[in-house]
Structures are given as structure tokens and as C-alpha cells.
């Protein structure tokens, strides 16, 4: 039990790394996705290059590139900062692709209809396209978030003190290896299951709300017809 306690103490550090990288990834992914769907050919090419590079380089190599790239002369960046940057970068490509997939799944006619109604761009994106794209986007984001939670284990290799690093430390100190690594794996597994369960809950309540408003709108429409 003592082993489990020692491992659990560093879970906040893993969570911080995970959350910060996910947020950074999303912040980077939004402009990349916008550029990928842009009408400008150069912008599209730049976005495509970004996506291919961040997805094609293994996360560990990206981690080293960021870590060594930020090391100038004797300066070494804090391992946590480098890890957040690298994991955020590697997320941005995947997340940009899921955002694009979400928007592309919305039928073209919706854009055309919004344009025919001469809705301003912000309304067209925010009130027409985004609500329809969101279920698909969030599906992609959640499955990547689960993947990213496991990827954070790589940060131990550049010296971030998180669950994986403590596990290695314990095994080097002579604690029984299989037990430690099974506990470590179980922590990640439970984390992934929790994330999936939370996403399911949020998704469910979201769709219920949507269903309700749709029904509400239909009822209102029917009433209007009856009054007329």
C-alpha cells in the first residue's frame, strides 16, 4: 500500500502536465485548423506541413528536440516546461485534424443557407456550424485526451518527476518491479477510464439538452401553426 501511496503523490504532477499540454494543443490547433480550411492555398500548405510534422515525428523525439532546442550553452530549461511544450505541439496536429473533421461533417448546404440569409461570419460559425460540428470535434478531442494522458509517461525520460519517474526510482531502490509497474499501469488505466466515463457523462447531458431544445422548438413551431 505504501508503494501505491508514493506513486499517487505524484499524480497531480502528471495531471498538470496532461491538462497544460491539452490546453496548449487546443490553442495551437484552432488556428492550424482554420488555416487548413482556408481558401488561401499557401495557408493550407503551411497548415498541412504543421500537421504532418507534428504527427510524423515520434513524441519522444519531439520531446528531445524541444528540450535540446531550448538548451542554450549551459542553460537547461525546466523539464516540466519542455514537456508541456513538446506534448502540446504533438497534440496540436491531431487536434487540428479532429476540428477539421468536425466542420467538414456539417453538410455544405448549412453554410450556403447561412450565407443566403447573409448571417455575419461570427454568427455563421458560432451559431450554425459550430453547434453541429461540436459532437464530432469533442469525440476526437476526448479520444486524444485519453491518449495524451498515457503519453505523459514519456516526460519522465527528460527528468520530469511524475508517476512514471517515481516508479523507476522505486524499482531502482529495490522495490519489487512487477508490483510497482502493475500499480503504475493501473493508475494510468483508471485515469483513462475516468476520462472516458466523464466524457460520456458530459456528452450524454449535452445530447439530452440538445434533444430538449429541439423538442421545445418543435412544440413552439407547432403552437405557432395552431394559432395561425
Amino acid at each position: 500500500m505504501n508503494i501505491l501511496w508514493q506513486l499517487l503523490q505524484t499524480v497531480p504532477s502528471t495531471m498538470l502536465l496532461w491538462a497544460a499540454a491539452q490546453v496548449l494543443g487546443l490553442v495551437l490547433a484552432i488556428p492550424v485548423a482554420a488555416a487548413r480550411m482556408s481558401r488561401e492555398r499557401t495557408l493550407r500548405w503551411i497548415a498541412l506541413l504543421w500537421i504532418e510534422v507534428t504527427r510524423g515525428i515520434p513524441t519522444l523525439v519531439l520531446l528531445f528536440i524541444v528540450y535540446f532546442g531550448l538548451s542554450i550553452n549551459d542553460f537547461r530549461p525546466p523539464a516540466m516546461t519542455a514537456a508541456i511544450l513538446a506534448l502540446g505541439l504533438s497534440s496540436s496536429g491531431y487536434l487540428a485534424e479532429s476540428i477539421r473533421a468536425g466542420f467538414e461533417a456539417v453538410p455544405r448546404q448549412q453554410t450556403e443557407a447561412a450565407m443566403a440569409l447573409s448571417l455575419p461570419l461570427a454568427t455563421r460559425l458560432g451559431r450554425v456550424l459550430l453547434p453541429q460540428a461540436l459532437p464530432i470535434i469533442s469525440e476526437g478531442v476526448v479520444s486524444y485526451a485519453i491518449h495524451l494522458f498515457k503519453e505523459t509517461a514519456l516526460a519522465s525520460l527528460i527528468g520530469v518527476i511524475e508517476v512514471m519517474a517515481v516508479a523507476n526510482y522505486l524499482v531502482e531502490r529495490g522495490v519489487n518491479g512487477p508490483t510497482v509497474f502493475l500499480f503504475t499501469g493501473a493508475i494510468y488505466l483508471v485515469g483513462c477510464l475516468l476520462l472516458a466515463w466523464l466524457a460520456h457523462l458530459i456528452g450524454d447531458s449535452g445530447s439530452r439538452k440538445r434533444g430538449k431544445t429541439q423538442r421545445g422548438a418543435t412544440i413552439a413551431a407547432v403552437k405557432k401553426v395552431e394559432v395561425a
Binding site: P58, V61, F64, I65, E151, A167, G177, Y188
Partner: protein, 235 residues
């Protein structure tokens, strides 16, 4: 250029590891997929647990478990073997889902037709199910092999000198860590894009053959003549 030449031996080992993992992991995934699709509960539940562990544990944890955990219970693997064993296990877990979907994706009528023709279970699988499932499974499997290729970079953690490990070593000897890592990243990028292009090509090809096969499938000329004989159906 010198950087690339320095890294080539590492790329060789990366490819060897990749081939080993795919050759052991994918067939194992097929077995798991069968167990998930048709297995009795006694078989299916343990396989489901194994698959969930393979997918829920980070690859690094599985690798360390095999390399520095198992020796405590008297099982010793060299670092090369550890990488192949650990990632074959992970790959089997991930591909089990792909195979399961492909096996269940074969239309039920085909199985019924096979049993009407008196084919045995194994003959049905070998001659009817697997050839069709194979076609469906090929593009996602090639796609997943890119993930496997990228995962071999974790072998650095157990001191193996595949491309990432070699780049790290050369970098710390020459104090030129960043150029070596950037070159490594570029090589991975080129290889991964090449594999994805192959996957896209296979996908295009298989969808084209499927489309071409459909008009061919009502083959018998007698069939058409019967159709023509019906008034109003022809010309």
C-alpha cells in the same frame, strides 16, 4: 549528410524492431480478435481484460514491466527482446479491435452459404472470412504500423541504439544533440509519410476493385437472357 549517414545503422535496427513487432503483434491481435468476436465467455472475458490492459497502460510502463519488472520474478529478456515482447503485446491489444470489427463485418449470409455448402468451420474461416476480412483490415493495419514505428523510439529508455537511442548517444558524444535529434525527426517524418501514402494507395486500390467487382457479379449470360425474356424488362 554526415548526420544522416551516422544515423543509418539506427534506422536499420528501428526497421528490424518494427518488423518483429508487426510480425508477432498482428497475428496475436488476430487471435484476440477471433476470441472477442466468437469466443466463449470463458475465453472472451480474459482476452477482454488483456486487451484493455494493453490499451490502457502507457507503452513505457509495459516496456519497463517486461525489462526491469519481470527479472524480479526470474524472467530475463535482453533489451531487444523486451522491446519486441512489450510492444507486440500492446500492438495485439490495439489490433484486436480492428480484427474483431473486420471479422464481424463479413456478411452473415456468407457464413450461411458456406455452411449450406458443407464447409467445415475452419474451412469457412480460411476460405471465406479471412480473405474478405483481410481486405477490410489492410488500410487501418498499415496505418497502425506507423504508430508502431513511432513507438519503437521508446527503446531508447532501455538503452537500445535504434535511431532515437543512437541519436541521443551521438549527440552526447559530439555535443551536437540538437542537430542529431532534428535529423532523426526528419527521417521518422519521411518514413511515416511514405507508409501513410502506401496505406492511402492500398485504400484507393481496394475500393476501386470493389467497385469494379460489383457490375461483374451478376455473371451468367443466361440470367440476362431470362431477364430479357420478361416483357418490358429488356431494351
Amino acid at each position: 549528410m554526415q548526420l544522416i549517414i551516422d544515423l543509418l545503422p539506427g534506422l536499420g535496427l528501428t526497421f528490424l524492431l518494427w518488423a518483429g513487432i508487426c510480425m508477432i503483434g498482428f497475428p496475436l491481435g488476430l487471435l484476440f480478435g477471433y476470441a472477442l468476436a466468437f469466443g466463449h465467455a470463458i475465453l472472451r472475458i480474459p482476452v477482454l481484460a488483456i486487451v484493455n490492459i494493453a490499451r490502457g497502460f502507457p507503452g513505457l510502463v509495459v516496456l519497463y514491466f517486461v525489462y526491469s519488472g519481470l527479472p524480479d520474478v526470474g524472467v530475463y529478456f535482453s533489451n531487444t527482446t523486451s522491446v519486441v515482447v512489450a510492444f507486440s503485446f500492446v500492438a495485439a491489444g490495439y489490433t484486436a479491435g480492428i480484427f474483431r470489427a473486420a471479422i464481424l463485418g463479413v456478411p452473415k449470409q456468407q457464413l450461411e452459404a458456406a455452411s449450406v455448402l458443407g464447409l467445415t468451420y475452419w474451412k469457412t474461416q480460411r476460405l471465406v472470412v479471412i480473405p474478405q476480412a483481410f481486405k477490410a483490415v489492410l488500410p487501418p493495419l498499415i496505418g497502425f504500423s506507423v504508430v508502431v514505428l513511432q513507438a519503437t523510439s521508446l527503446s531508447y529508455a532501455v538503452g537500445l541504439r535504434e535511431m532515437t537511442g543512437l541519436a541521443y548517444n551521438l549527440g552526447s558524444i559530439t555535443f551536437e544533440a540538437l542537430p542529431y535529434m532534428l535529423t532523426t525527426g526528419a527521417i521518422y517524418l519521411v518514413v511515416c509519410i511514405a507508409i501513410s501514402q502506401i496505406a492511402a494507395w492500398v485504400q484507393r486500390r481496394s475500393s476501386r476493385t470493389r467497385r469494379r467487382a460489383t457490375p461483374k457479379s451478376p455473371p451468367a449470360p443466361t440470367g440476362t437472357s431470362v431477364l430479357r425474356a420478361v416483357p418490358g424488362a429488356g431494351s
